[in-house]
């Protein structure tokens, strides 16, 4: 993917004098969903992607899946009259393969119709009217939405001034909570926490609230380049009340086929699994995921491609004088310093080169840094 700077931004150079600032950033699938974080205007109805269009607001993979996945998809269509636990590869095969790849057993792994189903299941399984949800703001909003529907109290902790989750405050807020949702890296701010901070967070939560379940959503795990980062997955395998969710929608380019998975302590996974649909994934997605997740060459190449495009874009915005949070994902969060009305020309300009941008946020209330 090559980006022409001029095409993307030339027509409408950012104007820093128009405060209060608005932030424009890419988000995931939740772009069509309201969120507690105040947004200025709704995304317009989203048309199907036109030829070559890059939909930044969905954090999709514009290159699509690899050939291995597509071959598997074509083959799987012919097996589509079988239930996906009765096909080859089956849901069980994918579950076992994901387990083996992570030094786990199948009972540590649960498939989801995208990770979104798992987010829903977690809120249903672990929160109640008396056991609240701790989340962040802004963050991926699916968990909070489910909690609101169920009448579960939501404590949303603002990110810090670097756009990072305030893990200290989130741990404090977890006292008596049913579930803490930790999106790492965080959507939409793109920031990541390192392994030590995550381990310390788990310890703190388990100290103040041993019954509380911790959900690490690692949808962008494969895009992280921060060397101090490690997945919480191995921690989750051996720690009660901790699990990790992942998705095939991002680096693997299978958003349209809806495959996600959760990994964690077997008791936590068993409890989560009670709330999912019994046959939640489709055989085509299962076959594609099975064919692609071992393809480490392709994954590495995609990660490299993304890192280059990300560096280029962040540098551009910074040189133009804009604040950009350091990104470890396939999207960025940038303060373009314009009021909402000022975002429209930018969106129009990018649309003219087949790049759809996201909704806007108000400038976040600045809290103190969570960690020195």
């Amino acid at each position: 993917m090559s980006l022409s700077r001029r095409a993307l931004f030339g027509a409408h150079p950012p104007n820093r004098s128009e405060r209060p600032g608005a932030l424009i950033a890419a988000r995931g699938r939740e772009a069509l969903v309201d969120e507690p974080w105040p947004n200025i205007d709704e995304a317009a109805a989203v048309a199907p992607p036109a030829s070559g269009e890059i939909r930044l607001m969905f954090n999709e993979n514009p290159l699509g899946p690899g050939e291995r996945a597509l071959d598997a998809v074509r083959e799987a269509f012919h097996d589509a009259s079988r239930y996906p636990d009765n096909t080859s590869p089956s849901m069980g095969d994918l579950q076992a393969a994901l387990a083996a790849a992570n030094d786990a057993r199948p009972e540590h792994v649960l498939l989801g119709a995208g990770s979104e189903e798992l987010l829903k299941d977690a809120v249903q399984a672990f929160t109640s009217k008396s056991k609240h949800l701790v989340t962040a703001t802004p963050t991926y909003v699916a968990s909070a939405r489910v909690a609101e529907y169920l009448g579960t109290e939501v404590k949303a902790i603002p990110v810090d001034s670097d756009g990072k989750l305030n893990l200290g405050a989130m741990a404090e807020a977890s006292r008596g909570a049913g579930l803490v949702f930790v999106c790492n890296p965080n959507n939409p701010t793109a920031t990541v926490h390192q392994a030590e901070a995550i381990a310390e967070f788990v310890e703190r939560v388990q100290h103040v609230s041993p019954e509380t379940v911790i959900h690490f959503d690692e949808a962008y795990h494969e895009y992280v380049t921060e060397p101090g980062y490690r997945s919480a997955l191995s921690l989750a395998l051996w720690t009660p009340n901790v699990f990790v969710s992942r998705t095939f929608s991002k680096v693997y380019g299978l958003a349209g086929l809806r495959i996600g998975y959760a990994v964690g302590h077997k008791d936590t996974i068993a409890q989560l699994g009670r709330y999912g649909l019994p046959i939640n994934t489709n055989n085509v997605g299962v076959a594609a995921a099975y064919a692609t997740f071992h393809d480490s060459v392709r994954t590495r190449r995609e990660k490299q491609r993304n890192a280059e495009a990300r560096r280029f874009t962040i540098d551009f915005f910074r040189k133009a004088g804009h604040e950009v949070f350091e990104s470890n994902t396939n999207f960025i969060f940038v303060n373009i310093g314009r009021p909402a009305a000022g975002c429209a020309p930018l969106a129009k300009s990018t649309a003219s080169v087949s790049v759809a941008t996201s909704r806007r946020w108000k400038e976040p209330t600045r809290g103190s840094r969570s960690e020195p």
Binding site: R29, L32, V46, P48, P49, A50, S51, G52, E53, R55, E60, N61, P62, L63, G64, P65, A69, L70, V73, R74, A76, F77, H78, D79, A80, S81, R82, Y83, P84, D85, N86, T87, S88, S90, G92, A113, G114, E116, E117, K120, Y149, S249, G253, L254, A255, G256, L257, R258, R274, Y275, L277, P278, I279, N280, T281, N282, N283, V284, G285, A288
Partner: protein, 305 residues
């Protein structure tokens, strides 16, 4: 496709053995692993899942292959549009667009209905034996379940189910009923619905998963009534006659107010783009559906006799 008696009997012979072996003994994956150890021509028809052994129709396959694996990487894009499928349902079933909800299999429609219409104080009424999805989920969410045994003719006992409906949140009526395969005709369903409407406040969920296989001329689908009546919801699936069990796609038909209640909880982001394209094409391929109906009727007659 016409079924050769010899090949069918051979397959059913193996399939029945598989069913007997696997009915209570283990998960599907065991049966599958066993079947995959056999040469292809000897692999059984898995009767216990009520799958369609022939697969999706040619037009559905075309739609999926051309629409999904070609062009602008549709598999990498979130499939946000339900329009193709909703339009096909409207065109072929005569249901207005506003009265349609799409699900990750009809299973998800059944779950959503159980979630929003029952509670610990509003029980579920279901047949016994009947399809167990609603009752299974009711147990998970703490909803009491009233199981009403089928009659001696293995039919749902609609009178007894109406009796059990007082104070209920949802009545699950599988018509035809899985696993007894029996049907209630339009008049019987009409009388049952009338009674429930006057004696209870429960919503009636009518699962028409096997709709396309019904040959009884007195049968009527309840989708027309579902559009008008706020307390009737009909569920359909593409897993059976349309041969798309693997794709996980189904739909529900109900009054717009009923759908509004369901949609507060129902999420349809679990739908895959191939299923949307394939199901839409399959619905419009009425020739294929008719051929599948004829094939099934022939085999069923042979086997029942």
């Amino acid at each position: 496709m016409s079924v050769s008696r010899r090949s069918f009997v051979k397959k059913v012979g193996i399939g029945s053995a598989a069913a007997a072996m696997m009915a209570y003994d283990g998960p599907r994956s065991v049966a599958r692993a066993w079947s995959l150890s056999l040469p292809e021509e000897e692999r059984p028809v898995f009767l216990q899942y009520n799958e369609n052994p022939l697969g999706p129709g040619a037009r559905a396959l075309d739609a999926m292959e051309t629409g999904i694996t070609a062009g602008n990487h549709p598999t990498a894009r979130y499939g946000l549009s339900r329009t193709a499928l909703v339009d096909a349902i409207t065109a072929t079933q005569g249901v207005p667009q506003a009265n349609i909800v799409i699900g990750n299999g009809s299973t998800q429609i059944l779950r959503t209905a159980t979630h929003v219409f029952t509670s610990p104080s509003k029980h579920l009424v279901t047949g016994a034996p009947s399809y167990g999805e609603c009752s299974g989920y009711a147990e998970v969410i703490g909803t009491p379940v009233e199981f009403v045994p089928v009659s001696t003719s293995m039919r749902l006992d609609l009178d007894a189910m109406a009796d059990a409906a007082k104070g209920a949140g949802l009545i699950f009526v599988d018509n035809p009923n899985n696993p007894t395969a029996t049907l209630h005709d339009g008049d019987a369903m009409g009388a049952f619905i009338d009674r429930v409407m006057t004696e209870s406040e429960a919503v009636i969920l009518i699962d028409e998963a096997y709709h396309d296989y019904v040959m009884d001329p007195a049968y009527r689908s309840e989708i027309t009534r579902a559009v008008r009546n706020k307390r009737i919801l009909v569920a359909r699936t593409f897993s059976k006659a349309h041969g798309m069990a693997g794709m996980r796609i189904g739909y529900g038909v109900a009054h717009t107010d009923t759908l509004a209640t369901m949609n507060e909880w129902h999420y349809d982001s679990g739908l895959n783009v191939a299923a949307i394209a394939g199901a839409a094409a399959s619905l419009r391929d009425t020739e294929h559906t008719a051929a599948e109906q004829a094939r099934n009727t022939e085999v069923r007659r042979f086997t029942v006799d």
